[in-house]
Symmetry: D2
Subunit: 120 residues, 4 copies
């Protein structure tokens, strides 16, 4: 295993190429596939309590891992076809959020202070 997103993205590109699936992989279609997989991941958690979701049983955890893998693969593929560097855009966003959400104002509160839904 490697912590190399770029290498995984290249392997994925090759996987798609040998199957001639590039024709289906427009950004629009990949955004749909990503959202569809995010929906399947959601379904794994929908009837769990908060506490149960922190300690899923082994079968549920195996399905969660598989769904997280699918989300990751489609996210990587979408970024690849749009020439977006995932680490770069995520780092930029995290830095913006660091400035935007002053810990002094947002500490411990996801609900009382605006915005209602603090973003990571």
């Amino acid at each position: 295993m490697t912590d190399d997103l770029g290498e995984l993205s290249a392997r994925l590109r090759e996987f798609v190429r040998v199957r001639e699936w590039e024709q289906f992989h427009t950004p629009k279609n990949l955004a749909m596939a990503l959202a569809g997989e995010a929906g399947e991941l959601l379904a794994e958690f929908q009837w769990l309590t908060a506490a149960e979701s922190q300690n899923p049983d082994p079968e549920t955890l195996a399905r969660i891992r598989a769904e997280i893998a699918d989300v990751t693969l489609y996210l990587l593929r979408l970024a690849d076809v749009l020439s977006i560097d995932l680490i770069e855009v995520a780092t930029t966003k995290l830095e913006e959020n660091n400035r935007r959400y002053d810990p002094a104002n947002y500490r411990g509160s996801a609900r009382k202070a605006p915005p209602a839904h603090p973003q990571i």
Copy 2:
């Protein structure tokens, strides 16, 4: 910028910690946040044709980059709280799909051969 998912994940963990937001970050809630962001990404593409989605105008592309960043951050955070290695699970899944979808049978077809919805 760095191609280091682990480092970004650690910075994100610290961002959450100083705001005392861990209490909100159950796997269940993070899966919801991830799916919500995937929905916002989807909305950027919903009225675009396939061709337009491959060449979004600069304003649309900027919003797409921001939504992809949000999806990435929540995915990283969810993986972190569940102690899942994104690269590892995605690599394993890609290898499984490599065996599962024989190029001889699936070449060029997303629809005619089973399954109806080939996974990456």
Copy 3:
């Protein structure tokens, strides 16, 4: 106000017609819009506890009502362009589920008995 889905669907069709938006309303695009709105609805609940979600404050409830309205409108519109009768398909599905999930086996359990995710 009326309990008439058909009438609302007809008004929606006219709303779309006078704006010449039929060209954007392919089933594919409407399914995206529906999922995007479902994602916005999700975001309203993501940081709420189970108990809080049962008693949202007035501002949150107003946003939830608006998101539920958006989901309803896109669902009606999608059904309309595909000539699907929502009440008919939902009634059929509920009858199937009535047969499929024997109360004797599924009572009180969303998790212990298969399937893991009972459908309504």
Copy 4:
């Protein structure tokens, strides 16, 4: 078959009651289930062209009908537990949109005029 949403909602409530599933049906969990089903619906369309989505083959159409049924059932159930009248909120929203999107300004355009994503 009947065009009676209220009756279907009552039958659904009874379906849930005899299985003692009310405990799982918090608004939060139902919003997740709704979004999950919207994701499954999305998956039916993800590799179809716009034209193909307007004319799905019989097997695909059958699956689309089933997914639309699931979305409808969860939407009805969520509205029921929050005491929201679907027709009322959707009618109100459509009237607002009628005022908000002047046909003179928005005719034929989903993209060139603000907002980028006109709502139904």
